[in-house]
């Protein structure tokens, strides 16, 4: 077996050194009824060729976005990732290294995480950022729990246009921790008034920007209302590339910004692993969840990096930790930071501009189709269209034509009759004019 270096002769001599006769002797603490002599009922070991064939056959049963014109967004976006990114993250020294608890032999990981934290702070317009979370949705729930700690209050107000998964995760934690969640219904027109829900028990308002329907909102007023009431404004960003084109949440008064970082450096990968971004104000630092890398010096006075403020964390603080989180999303954060480093200021802004231009062109094109209207007034690379019939079956019909035409709102709100005809459509730099023409033509056909 290719991954196991011990030979039968090795095993014999090692048992002898240990002073036992057989492996069974080493498992003697296992209750007899649970000891298994025979392998469990699963296939035996296979060679690479066989495994490749089997998994390749599963892959071949899917219609990937690389093969089909694809306009799916709603929290996960297809972008072009430079080849250098994937090359570098596969270096064994990154791929097969552990959490950098021993800083002398992990300065590589620590330095890139320090750079990552800086980039996240810059993008979001915030003061500090952590070394990543599981994904945007879990980061959102952590932000609410952090706001509860900071304000010592127990009600969170969620925008109805927050990505439903983010809201569901937050509600799940709310249930078990016993805090309250208020959320108005999803408003595709972008007219909800959250400020009126803020009261003296409100720890935070959570709003997504651009929201799940694509609307870009000026959050300054809401921030002011929150702060006046002693609540925090939490802003969630599901498409981090938007921050190259629009005002960052920090500039609009956000106290905590969480984001899904998948769009930079990471593939769609059917939803994971992704990378959650988490940024806040310096004064809330000690209430943050997750790992933090800090600058320091070694005994020779040379600059170096370490994991720091770990007294917030479970491995030191146990049940008093700010979060039970242990793992971060290191390798995805590495992909994110390498992609963003390649882009730099000029590339990042241009990438954002390309996305916006593509979405504008697509919106204009779809708006000309009979019965189709674009609901979103201001948007980045994703917008909502209203169809003359339920969007779910329309998307299925498009898929049969080899086009992945967007996310029907019914996928995210299965029971909301009012949203049934809505389709969320995204366009990125990967969509060609031909892709867009194909979608328009197929949509016209399906709607006819």
């Amino acid at each position: 077996m290719r991954y196991l270096p011990l030979t039968p002769a090795d095993r014999q001599s090692m048992l002898a050194r240990i002073g036992v006769r057989s492996m069974d002797d080493l498992y003697r603490d296992v209750p007899p009824k649970a000891r298994r002599d025979k392998p469990v009922d699963l296939p035996s070991h296979q060679g690479e060729l066989e495994v490749e064939r089997a998994i390749g056959a599963l892959a071949a049963k899917n219609l990937g976005t690389a093969k089909a014109p694809s306009f799916l967004g709603a929290g996960a976006y297809r972008h072009h990732v430079p080849a250098a990114v994937d090359h570098l993250i596969q270096r064994g020294e990154f791929l097969t290294s552990y959490t950098p608890y021993q800083p002398e032999v992990t300065q590589g990981t620590l330095e890139y995480l320090f750079e990552f934290q800086t980039q996240v702070a810059l993008l979001t317009g915030m003061e500090v950022a952590n070394a990543s979370m599981y994904d945007g949705g879990t980061a959102c729930a952590e932000a609410v729990m952090m706001a509860n700690r900071v304000t010592r209050r127990s009600k969170a107000v969620l925008s109805g246009a927050l990505h439903p998964h983010y809201a569901e995760i937050t509600r799940t934690h709310a249930h078990f921790l016993g805090f309250k969640v208020e959320q108005p219904p999803a408003d595709p027109e972008g007219k909800e008034d959250l400020a009126r829900l803020v009261d003296a028990d409100t720890s935070c308002v959570v709003v997504q920007n651009p929201n799940v329907f694509g609307h870009i909102q000026d959050l300054s007023g809401l921030a002011e209302a929150c702060h006046k009431a002693g609540a925090l404004l939490v802003v969630a960003v599901t498409e981090v590339v938007s921050l190259g084109a629009i005002e960052p949440p920090g500039a609009m008064g956000a106290d905590i910004v969480v984001a899904e970082g998948q769009a930079l450096g990471n593939s769609l990968g059917f939803g994971g692993p992704y990378v959650g971004l988490f940024a806040t104000r310096e004064k809330f630092l000690r209430q943050m969840p997750g790992r933090l890398v800090g600058e320091t010096k070694d005994v020779d006075g040379r600059r170096g990096w370490v994991l720091t403020l770990s007294t917030r964390e479970q491995h030191i603080r146990r049940e008093k930790a700010t979060s039970n989180i242990c793992t971060n999303s290191g390798l995805c954060a590495l992909a994110f930071t390498i992609h963003l480093t390649l882009l730099g200021e000029a590339g990042f802004q241009r990438l954002a501009a390309l996305n916006h231009a593509a979405a504008c062109m697509l919106a204009d094109k779809l708006a000309t189709l009979p019965g189709v209207s674009v609901l979103t007034r201001s948007f980045f690379n994703e917008f909502t269209v209203k169809l003359p019939k339920p969007a779910g079956p329309v998307v299925e019909a498009l898929a049969k034509r080899g086009i992945l035409g967007g996310v029907p709102a019914s996928r995210l709100w299965p029971n909301e009759k009012a949203l049934e005809n809505l389709l969320l459509v995204a366009a990125t730099e990967t969509n060609t004019g031909a892709d867009m023409d194909a979608l328009a033509a197929a949509l016209k056909e399906v709607l006819a």
Partner: protein
Amino acid sequence: VEEPLIFEQGEEGRCGVDLPEPAKVASRLGNLARRKPVGLPGLSEPQVVRHYTRLSQKNYAIDTGLYPLGSCTMKHNPRLNEKMVRLQGLADLHPLQPVSTVQGALELIDQLAHWLKTLTGMPAVAMSPGAGAHGELCGIMAIRAALEHRGDARKRILVPESAHGTNPATAAACGYEVDPIPANAKGRVDLEAFRAKLGPDVAGIMITNPNTCGLFEPDIVEIAEAIHGAGGFFYCDGANFNAIVGRVRPGDLGIDCMHINLHKTFSTPHGGGGPGAGPVVLSEALAPFAPVPWVVHGAKGFDLVEQDPKKQAFGRLKGFHGQMGMFVRALAYMMSHGSDGLKQVAEDAVLNANYILASLKDDMSPAFPGTCMHEALFDDHFLKDTGVTTLDFAKALIDEGYHPMTMYFPLVVHGALLVEPTETESKDSLDRFIEVLRSLARRAKSGDAAYFEAAPKLTPRRRLDETAAARKPVLRWVPGSNTAKAAE
């Protein structure tokens, strides 16, 4: 060689990608177009490739040497798995595509679930948790949901003192009080102390098995029966599943749920701290409460349940459907080993650990008598009166070309040194490592404390001032802050 931060290498007007000129369109950004630059540095591709290559060279990794971190299972990460996860048709799937277009992906998740259920002997599995601690959350939430469903409000969770910090933190994050159980002199759960804690407000117990002392809990079945008898549930922390995979099915021990770190037992890469994946196997009693989404098989093939029609699911823990990329890798690993190979994995992991324990028992001090499971635990008795601390001893390993073992954990052992070699180390490799540890132990005893205090010396950085880092945290670069240049 120093490697400056990207912010210290950037220049305006430089870019590491080429993107076409955007088409001219009337902006739809409202009045919210970005007003100021982000502040990102401009680097070319050659600089970027060199920067990260050089950074990587400052890391220790499984690929560069034995990585004896106890409790972390730093085993070989096969490259086949990396190839599989990048296949077209998997890497390029959007999570919200119509299910008709992702039948292969759902089948893959279903297959992995089958392997996990069969290996653990459990009837159900929740796939979405993003890591081990997230899996713990999932399991304790399922327990609480089941208790709530039967109208049984309980408030305590029992956790052995030797547990990972995530255990108590998880219990607290689910709204429970944590009640610690002491370890006995043999490093196991003190059965009597445990029984004394039982009561009608105990929701459950979280036990790591094999435990963090590297020992199998021999009373595990009694513990399961007792907690069930008291109306509570048994959460098993599966962090150490590698010691028993294919050889013992946790389901046969009476557990109700257990998370599985795919990045430990099933070799998905640790990646410098993540991402991981922590599916949770569940008993019949807990299965209905598993969080969405669920992959199910119906008349039209595979389907995804994203909202539970019966409303029993305790909610949602993660966006989309879990760590798919880790699922692909783990399945490739399982298929490569097969049921015969996985059993061998467990045995070789245990054999390697015992070989280290037996080889060093005279030079270092085993924390407990007898054999161990997949990791060998020493205390600092052998360093007594040498002036060398556990930390110093471990740091001295670095100059010998090794990553340190886990130190000061588990807490129940004084100055603990926890060594987990994993099954992917050869006997040669173990022999060299043993020889290094032996000679360091002898050196410590010979009175050379200064050597250990000064270690490491051969690394890109020597010991770093962690206190200063925490006292006045510098968590990001700000322009003009390059203190490094000044220091050199």
